[in-house]
Subunit: 197 residues, 2 copies
Amino acid sequence: MKMAFILYDDLTVLDFVGFYDAVTRLKAMGFLPGLEWTVCARTPQVRDGAGLRLQADAVPSSLEGFDLIFLPGGMGSRGLRKDQDFVGWLRTARPCPLKVSVCTGSLLLGAAGFLEGKTATTHPSAYDLLAEYTPKTTRERLVDEGDVITGGGVSTSIDLGLYLCERLAGAQARDQIARQMDYPYRAKPPLRPGRAV
Amino acid sequence: MKMAFILYDDLTVLDFVGFYDAVTRLKAMGFLPGLEWTVCARTPQVRDGAGLRLQADAVPSSLEGFDLIFLPGGMGSRGLRKDQDFVGWLRTARPCPLKVSVCTGSLLLGAAGFLEGKTATTHPSAYDLLAEYTPKTTRERLVDEGDVITGGGVSTSIDLGLYLCERLAGAQARDQIARQMDYPYRAKPPLRPGRAV
């Protein structure tokens, strides 16, 4: 399984790192030995909203070929959702079977056309912006639409990462990873609009 | 107030970023407008335990002059606590009035001599290693000794960051920052060994 973590200037780095920490442990702890990931951006280096500089592993012209793309949120998403070059690049991820966002990363999924017909969530301050892309916004912390998973604001990244660990490798993997992360909290299970309640 | 976030190869980046996200909001949200921080390391770039590359803002020869130093944990701490060059560099932080660690960052505080006489905590897998530096280890998630604050493993970084927000700027600041981080959880208050229960 190949994951692309997508970074951009003025992202909120915790949106990325909470997810990254949980899911990369799937490999480090032996649950998914074949897991690979690439930190992708449009530039070799990005700067988070508070100034931290991070290096991309790759500046790929296309995101085709990844099994999962992950989009963090941050103030940069507000402008990028209107940036035709960036949005066009995101659209190259259309064939990727799983698209995941946390916080205002969902605005970028929406701008790329990946939220059509989907229920989705975002940072509590951005429900109105998200409604530009789908009428089915929700205040749930986690929403799993099968091929699209969205999460709430910033720190939701850990809950979302642990949920993905469970979806990919089972509840026992999730619990062991949470223990290694010393994370005693547990979000309620995601809304799954496609399933009967 | 000037903070130094200390990075090193094979750190666990969530140990750093959970704390960084919370405390840098003290400035972004107007609670401590004069807050400054510097990402410090011994090399211009470091790599976290899962491969993410981060840039330092500075490679200072001394840590004197900072009001707070913060040490994340990670596998790299196991070797660095025996590295006389690195430990000697940490010792230049002796005059800093507040020393903070999460996870196995406390082993580095210990190696630098900053835990003498102090109660301290660490990642649950490292209590035995921490006992090399202080007989007063505890399984508490947060310990505030006044001039030294230690936290438990990895994800404790968010709880520790929010606790520091409260200590520096009050409960209302803490609550507003937690809301902006969309963090619904709350760790129990830290152990404060110097105070009567």
